[in-house]
Subunit: 276 residues, 2 copies
């Protein structure tokens, strides 16, 4: 690989700001790499939408990142990883990596009871992408999928503990008690903020699969294999693009990534320029 | 007005399927009119987004409806009525009407304690559009605004009664008890499905302002004034367009409008054709 390609940035995208948790994982595991983040806050959320629409939005964003000169793309969004990744892998010439396989791998490693609960959006659970990924690793594992559509809006509302948060978690997950599940996959970028309340409601010694960090380690292996690691010793740069900006999004972004700059750029995803 | 203009359909749009409640109101009040409905399910929800983005999406849909030959447009979405209507009124040559003024008028008519609570999305409440509309009718009325971001996803989840629904309503509205509020404006198309649980939690003799029916009556007056009522005696036609289709959307659409046809058309809002 040429030095130019090695020093190119890594692109990360998500339906909104939740994918900043994955960017945090990349920072920790690949501290020398430049990063470009895109959050599609104008069209968020994706978890209630069809695979066709999620694939279309993802494809547009990948083209945007390609025009920005990235050397690889991380799909930080679980819904897009589940619904769009196979198509994107075929269409793109760049390496592209999702969070589903990473989450599946981590869960398969840590479970002892061999029963794993996968929590995600309706689209992610309906796609059965985690089921397939976990079964590909070990077909003997038992997987229970649970769509939890209120989890994203409650996190965006800051309802992450207290009686109401516990009531919502109980509504979706109460029936998992007695199922001998010892490992849960938080299959949506917002869900790590609910890990504590989920542990409190379900009790016991629950393992939580961390897709963000596992995905970053997978990407590191892949960049090494393809001789694409950035040899630069200078401080890495980060750029942030969002398709909409509101006070609530900015609040959540700062909650996930305290140092995020104020001057995030707004990209008009409805413009000719973006879609061409 | 020419017979052709009079027999043209009325366009109705919303961020999703909730605006079908407004279409129901139009059916009841204007049974001879043809209707074209557009629900932007690919980019739903709008209530968490900026006025710029909501205006842009609304503008694109109005152009689509104009190309379909509508004689008037009803903005069934409260967020778009609050954030985009003033701009759309200036840009369009057609009569266009929102739901905010209608809801405000109904509330001002029915309150006796002269204290009105307006419930809506974050964008609707932040815009203060209901405050301005109610104050324009009677500046002596006291208005309490409450953004209730979990109400839309809970309705879409079918959580409209029971302890969890009551807990969420209590979270947002519990502090209204003791405020002598006797009238609430359900300032979002989904909220009418929560009227019963809100009445149960708040207790007392609560009046609920019905923007859907009031907006239909306003439109009827306006069409009469402009000599645009459809003189046809044939059975009216209805067309439905959505930018995305999922089983969950279709389930909710049938819940609101039981007779809605199965063959709703999907419009690609990302295509050149739609945006030109």
């Amino acid at each position: 690989m040429s030095p130019k390609e090695r020093s190119a940035p890594i692109g990360v995208f998500d339906s909104g700001v939740g994918g900043l948790t994955v960017l945090g994982g990349l920072r920790a595991v690949l501290p020398g790499e430049d990063l470009i983040y895109f959050g599609d806050t104008a069209r968020i959320p994706w978890g209630i939408k069809s695979p066709q629409v999620v694939t279309q939005f993802s494809r547009e964003i990948c083209r945007f990142l390609e025009r920005k000169g990235v050397k690889a793309i991380v799909v930080a969004c679980n819904t897009a990883s589940a619904a769009a990744l196979p198509v994107l892998e075929q269409e793109l010439s760049l390496p592209i990596l999702g969070v589903v396989r990473a989450g599946a791998r981590h869960a398969a490693q840590v479970t002892r009871t061999r029963r794993i609960a996968v929590l995600g959006t309706e689209a992610t659970i309906r796609s059965r992408a985690y089921h397939r990924a976990i079964e590909a690793i070990d077909p003997g594992l038992r997987i229970l999928g649970r769509a939890c559509p209120l989890f994203v809006p409650m996190v965006e509302e800051g309802i992450v503990d207290g009686p109401l948060a516990e009531g919502i978690v109980e509504h979706y997950l109460g029936d998992l008690r007695g199922e001998e599940v010892d490992t849960i996959v938080l299959g949506c970028t917002h869900y790590p903020l609910l890990a504590d309340v989920i542990r409190k409601v379900l009790g016991g010694d629950l393992q939580v699969a961390d897709a963000a960090r596992t995905a970053a380690m997978e990407l590191k292996d892949l960049l090494e294999e393809q001789d694409l690691l950035n040899p630069s010793l200078g401080p890495p740069s980060e750029q942030f693009f969002f398709s909409d900006r509101t006070p609530a999004f900015q609040r959540l972004a700062r909650l996930i990534l305290p140092g995020i700059p104020e001057d995030m750029e707004r990209v008009d995803v409805e413009s000719e320029d973006f879609r061409s």
